[in-house]
């Protein structure tokens, strides 16, 4: 069969659930790192707030609007990163990126984030899944300009 992609691989229950009830959603007043992710073509627009203490992410939150994929990705990212060192966060960024672009990373090694493996079948949606991640990395690196994945 020429076309094997299944809508359910993209819109997994966990993803839909997070998009409807995002975790760690809102402004984090205590944040000492902050960055914006904006994809003007789709209109997805998020701000990521991070509090870094002793080289580790003690608090992380996000706020904004966008499609189900981008919102769920932001929500699950905040869960995955809380308590991680900034170096681990950077490493997870790379593995998540490899996962959604289909670059041979074992989905299981990403824990709950493995539900995003289906994105690799939808090249046009990679930018949605990675927007919050790019914003997070920009926040950690102290970049001032809004990032875009378009």
């Amino acid at each position: 069969m020429a076309d094997v992609r299944e809508l359910r691989d993209l819109y997994q229950e966990v993803i839909l659930e997070h998009s409807k009830k995002p975790r760690n959603y809102g402004v984090l007043e205590s944040a000492n790192h902050k960055a914006e992710g904006y994809n003007p073509l789709c209109g997805d627009h998020y701000t990521i707030f991070v509090t870094v203490k002793d080289g580790a992410i003690s608090e992380i939150a996000f706020q904004g609007a966008g499609c189900a994929i981008s919102k769920a990705s932001a929500s699950m990212m905040t869960q995955a990163l809380k308590g991680k060192s900034t170096a681990d966060a950077e490493a997870l960024f790379t593995r998540f990126h490899d996962l959604v672009t289909g670059h041979g990373v074992a989905p299981d090694s990403l824990g709950k984030l493995a539900v995003f493996a289906g994105v690799s079948e939808y090249p046009l949606r990679v930018k949605c899944a990675t927007l919050a991640w790019h914003a997070m990395r920009a926040a950690l690196r102290g970049e001032q300009q809004a990032v875009s994945t378009e």
Binding site: Y11, L41, C42, G43, D44, H45, G66, A68, R125
Partner: protein, 421 residues
Amino acid sequence: MSTVAKTPREIHAVHGGYDVYRIRKDFPVLQQQVHGKPLVYLDNAATTQKPLAVIEALEHYYRRDNSNIHRGVHTLSERATQAYEEARAAAQKFVNAADSREIIFLRGTTEAINLVAQTYGRKHVGAGDEVLITAMEHHSDIVPWQILCDEKGAQLRVAPINEHGELLLDEFEKLLSGRTKIVAVGHLSNALGTINPIKQIVRMAHARNIPVLVDGAQAAPRMKVDVQDLDCDFYAVSGHKMYAPTGIGFLYGKAKLLEAMPPWQGGGDMIASVTFDKTVYNRLPYKFEAGTPNIADTIGLGAAIEYLNQLGLEQIEEHEADLLAYATREIEKIPGVAIIGTAREKAGVLSFVMEDIHPHDIGTILDSEGIAVRTGHHCAQPVMQRYNIPATVRASFGLYNTREEVDALVRGIHKVREVLG
């Protein structure tokens, strides 16, 4: 062979000699499945599919006539030149220009507007002057004027629209002043489907001696355009939105204005004579067609115009009006769906949003059903800002779409709810 009874819908569509089912056979692209479903192509405002007549005209040209034009005396050059100039005559008739010299072949609407901004605009717009556009313009009718205004220290003024997406004509007229040096307005909004009252706009502007440029990208394939009746000064058209190849379009301009304008790009074909001291520019329309033009696609545009003439613009307009009315009625019935752009005068374009569901998720799910729509801001970010939404889903109709395809779209929207809950 058995005869198949026509369904009531088919009889409806064939009524008046417009047989959409026969017409569909002219478009090879439509004869395919996407994700195992028949392709339902509803992204015609982005670009249209090409009929065999156009595809074959390109092939014929490259197989038999390919040659440079306006130069050689050999047979192939003669044929190519003739076909190229026949396309100009076809374009002239298509918009009812008074003279074929008033048709300048360019890459499309964007290039046409840039040409006017950079020639007429640079000559006539100065510090403190104003350019007036509307709040529903496509980026291609905003940015060229911003570039001009930045360069000249002029101001871009924007006439507002109401909640339905209609231009507020009173407000528009109030913005016309002695400082206004040109008005630029879309004939048919690509994001909202609104048809603007061009004749009234032109009358108001001309009463103050202000010329009017009309962006005709969406209108040209959807209604009979008569530039003399509209009395506009410039009219810009994109071929690829009217069933012709990409990379070709034209600018209509009143000869008197075009003649007084400085050239835009310099090069071959746009000159009468060149010495190192002085160059004499060629006459219209060649003054604005520097370099070897896009010959093949211009001939393709000529073929597309001939195809549209055969079907009849009035019939196409009527067919698309029926589709839009039917789609509006059916989509309005779906709970949680809001149509963006509800002007009284509308054509071809149906933009909508769904409660709690982002247009991109809708687009992906519709695609899984073989339905091609556009999602995003449609190169009209100020329109999205006006409605305070990031994006819409846009279904846009072409001469080959059917009511059955509208039904497929409606089923697709129900599936979106099913998948995303």
